[in-house]
């Protein structure tokens, strides 16, 4: 069953993404025809970037994750990670605060880590 390919119209109407499995038979000559071209008006070239509906699973402090993480980038960054122990997630949130100056209040750090552990947490590694 083929799902619809994701196509993004120039007017910026986002069509819902089609999820397709990666394990297909490779085509002999893969298509190199882009679905959507750039728009050219005179000397101005432009594209309309797709933005997906990133949805985070339910969990404590999910709303804070949506706001504080989603403020700068897709929260999909969270869901593509494998499970990590708490110390790793704490380091990531700290990096967002201190290296990237994400406006995360100090009192929200543990809440965010709690959420990350709920959706992508692993036990502490044993030595």
């Amino acid at each position: 069953m083929k799902h619809a390919m994701m196509i993004f119209a120039i007017l910026g109407l986002a069509v819902l993404p089609g999820i397709r499995s990666g394990a297909e038979q490779p085509a002999q000559v893969p298509s190199t025809t882009a679905a959507v071209a750039a728009t050219v008006h005179g000397t101005v070239r432009s594209i309309r970037l797709p933005e997906l509906q990133a949805e985070l699973p339910d969990g404590p402090h999910r709303d804070e994750a949506v706001v504080y993480c989603g403020m700068c980038h897709t929260t999909h960054y969270i869901m593509i990670q494998p499970p990590f122990p708490r110390q790793t997630w704490l380091a990531e949130v700290t990096k967002m605060r201190t290296s990237f100056n994400g406006p995360i209040p100090p009192e929200k750090v543990q809440d965010l880590v709690d959420y990350l552990m709920t959706v992508r947490g692993a036990p502490e590694p044993h030595k």
Binding site: F8, L49, R62, V66, P103
Partner: protein, 415 residues
């Protein structure tokens, strides 16, 4: 998806909202968000299988992230020497990605420790400077990160954050000569049109802009280029239209996209993206272990020798007794590939693959290996050696998941 699952933040209002948040970031935000803006919770569970996304000017690519876009090339596009522009992978660090460029108004600025600062249009670049071309492989520093064990956070690339292209443009050395660099130049920094969602503002340091640097010696070596064409065509917007830096043999983090500012410096550049990010152990193959992290790190630099399987693809069905061709690619930091050896018995025995045509030392080198397997399960391996005798190793790791070049294993079932 259901209509009740709304966009998290409306795109039109996003910039204004984010700016107001950024400026208010000095203290606690105390924000309350209506439920309708936050969306309904999705099902929890293991990470979904890769989704495909057809971004503008691109065929369907493997979606890693969309904001900013990080899109990976499916392996099937690596069966050609040059990766089609439409299939070339996409990687941006910061969410404000250039989406509109006026070719007539665009200017490349060359300034800093120079006698004659320049402001060059695209027409100036084509008319005033000798065009040069190089076939060079562009590989993300984090390519194949998801294969490291133990794993580390970051964009979870498979092997497809890589591509080979013919780049056409002008030598950076020629640009620097026209700008008349002053004596004792130390570094050259490179900035593009992209920027962070939260840039610096009053009372707010902001997310560091993506700016890279090279030593003046490297920048001026005659190999580093400013490209205005990729495979004979203008660059796709998502690969850095109208100009990008080409640093042959070095990892792609230096290949700054949408390049519009070149600044010559009389002291070392210490921007975040070179002094804190993209650091690797100061050891051969950039190797360390989780229990013994390297004490010293350096900015990632020249690519290490590696090979990748292109066919069969993981999960591809092979028929017993049918001749098949194992295909792959090999690359290094510019010395050239001497040989690629393939094993079909998990490394017990090795035989030479046939190398495809040589497109120059900075290009990848494709290879093929004839095989006619009987029914069974096999572990294929590929091992590249470059012209300097450097060869891939069986074990390699570093804390950030950069520069993966370990000998690949590919499990194959022949039915």
């Amino acid at each position: 998806m259901h209509a009740s699952r709304r966009l998290i933040l409306p795109p039109v209002g996003r910039r204004e909202f984010l700016k107001s948040v950024g400026v208010a970031a000095a203290g606690s935000l105390g924000l309350h968000f209506p439920r309708r803006l936050l969306g309904e919770a999705a099902e929890s569970g293991p990470a979904a299988p890769p989704e495909f996304l057809a971004a503008p000017e691109k065929v369907e690519l493997l979606l890693r992230t969309d904001r900013p876009p990080n899109l990976e090339t499916p392996l099937k596009y690596f069966r050609e020497d040059l990766t089609p522009n439409e299939a070339f992978y996409v990687r941006w660090h910061l969410a404000i990605v250039p989406t509109q460029v006026d070719e007539a108004a665009f200017r490349l600025a060359i300034a800093g420790h120079v006698e004659s600062p320049l402001s060059l249009s695209l027409a100036d670049l084509r008319r005033q400077f000798e065009p040069v071309s190089v076939v060079a492989v562009n590989q993300c520093s984090g390519n194949s990160r998801s294969h490291f064990q133990p794993r580390m956070p970051g964009v979870q690339w498979g092997n497809g954050a890589i591509g080979n292209a013919r780049w056409t443009g002008v030598r950076l050395r020629d640009l620097l000569a026209k700008a008349e660099v002053r004596a004792k130049a130390v570094d050259v920094s490179f900035n593009g049109l992209d920027g962070p969602t939260l840039p610096a503002a009053a009372n707010f340091a902001g997310t560091p802009d993506f700016v890279k640097s090279l030593s003046f010696e490297r920048a001026n070596d005659g190999e580093v280029m400013v490209a205005y064409e990729m495979n004979g065509k203008p660059l796709p917007m998502l690969n850095g239209f109208p100009l990008r830096l080409i640093v042959p043999g070095w990892y792609a983090t230096y290949w700054v996209k949408s390049l519009n500012e070149i600044t010559v410096l009389d002291k070392p550049f210490d921007g975040f993206w070179i002094s804190k990010a993209y650091r690797v152990p100061n050891t051969p193959d950039f190797q360390e272990s989780p229990d013994a992290l390297a004490k010293q790190t350096v900015p990632i630099n020249r690519m290490t020798v590696r090979s990748l399987f292109v066919r069969p693809e993981p999960g591809e069905a092979l028929r017993a007794g049918m001749p098949t061709e194992i295909e792959g690619l090999a690359l290094d930091g510019g010395k050239g590939i001497r040989r690629v050896e393939v094993s079909t018995d998990a490394g017990k025995t090795w035989a030479d693959a046939k190398l495809d045509r040589d497109l120059g030392n900075y290009s990848w080198r494709r290879w093929r290996f004839a095989w006619r397997p009987a029914q069974g399960r096999y572990t294929l391996m590929a091992r590249a050696t470059n012209a300097a005798g450097e060869v891939q190793t069986h074990s390699q790791w570093n804390r950030s998941g950069y520069a993966r070049n370990v000998i690949e294993s590919l499990a194959v079932t022949v039915a």
